[in-house]
Symmetry: C2
Subunit: 254 residues, 2 copies
């Protein structure tokens, strides 16, 4: 069996996340339907991670097994002819037999976009979190920096998913601003459930003066979810980069 | 009666254009419903121009008359609480008694966005025209330049609207590119029906090599719509700037 890795991009607004669910349209299900038509047999897609309802992906990696003979580079155009316009197949490559889009992933980056303006922008609806309150950008930058490093992140995750450990390594976590758009960029070897949205909530609390940036190391150590900032809404969140070894990594970097 | 001018922005995807129609949701109708609630009486809004179904506005000007006493600067937040999220009220100002958003308009600018890429971007769906064919940017720039000046533009308009004259003055018409986004920017004292979309179709034909840029002055002179390029789809078109004298002009420039 061939094992094909796909690079996708999607606007998650209409979807109940990546993972196949009963009674809700998901990205995986939509992709699998299109892949099954192309391959001529039922296809199961493995995604690089679960994204929640309303969360987007600038880059996403999914893999699937098939016996069909269609060349890898013909798969994206064939898929795009079948997929709805809020999902795009960007590239495809032959992956090793044992490749799995979750297990092979070395690190991931997410961005969270906050539209910090008095007035809503109709072109940002569903693609940024509208946040009209005054924010102190320097305090937000200082707050974000405290998440870098190897820590137990249970203070910034939501319950509901079993994991062996809540320790993760964050390689970078920074705040940038362009006009009235404030963007958090965070890269880690793995993310707990709702971790980026809770980090952003904590960074926003620092920006509002509700929390001292210097208190964050202590809050992480305490591990009490009730003391950090809120889980921000999904529409500001984008999976932005994913790192893999070999040919799949090359495809995701292009 | 007070006469209030509003600055709006809207994503036209869900609407059948600006103007109130039977059996179709329009921007004007949606705005009038919200204004009527705020003012406590039925409101009629006058727009600065008709936009077609699917066409967007980065800036749009509408005016309405009311006897209500709500201060102008309180109208946008009140409206935004009632409007759907694809329409935003940005500013409001008291306009002179005789102000009319169509008649007072000195000039307007539209942009047309062409996503010239092999691969669809799900975040541009409905907000740019996807155009994967190879285009010669220099030929497009040369073509656009030929529309500048005072000409009879009947070769680049669709039938269906009565006008006294088809002569207009185009102040600028140029092509810019950033990454894989090609943008036409055209400013005139007035536009004929579908004029920007037909200009863009003609510029695209030049970029494809189907038409010589230097042939455009002759095509305008001939005035035969069948010899110029096609009317491009609406989703790439945005009303971008509008010029007025006085306080309304100031509000639109902010």
């Amino acid at each position: 069996m061939r094992n094909i890795a796909l690079r996708l991009a999607y606007d998650g607004t209409r979807y109940h996340g990546w993972q196949v669910q009963k009674n809700a349209i998901t990205v995986a299900e939509t992709l699998e339907k299109a892949l099954s038509k192309i391959c001529g047999h039922p296809v199961r897609a493995v995604g690089c991670g679960r994204t929640d309802a309303g969360v987007h992906a600038l880059r996403y990696c999914a893999s699937f097994r098939t016996g069909c003979r269609i060349p890898a580079d013909r798969i994206p155009p064939a898929l795009n002819a079948l997929l709805p316009r809020d999902i795009a197949a960007v590239y495809a490559v032959e992956a090793g037999e044992s490749f799995n889009a979750i297990r092979a992933c070395e690190k991931k980056e997410y961005i969270y976009r906050l539209h910090n303006s008095r007035i809503r922008d109709p072109f940002l609806t569903g693609r940024a979190c509208f946040f009209p309150s005054l924010l102190d950008l320097d305090r937000m930058k200082a707050a974000a920096g405290h998440f870098v490093g190897t820590h137990d992140f249970k203070a910034v995750r939501s319950a509901g998913t079993e994991t062996k450990t809540t320790v993760r390594t964050v390689f970078w976590c920074d705040i940038g601003a362009e006009g009235d758009m404030i963007t958090l960029r965070v890269c880690a070897d793995g993310f707990l459930y709702n971790m980026v949205r809770a980090i952003m909530g904590t960074v926003v609390y620092a920006g509002l003066g509700k929390l001292e940036p210097s208190a964050i190391p202590g809050l992480l150590e305490d591990g009490d979810r009730r003391l950090t900032g809120p889980t921000m809404p999904p529409q500001g969140l984008f999976m932005s980069r994913i790192w893999y070894p070999g040919a799949v990594g090359e495809m995701m970097r292009k």
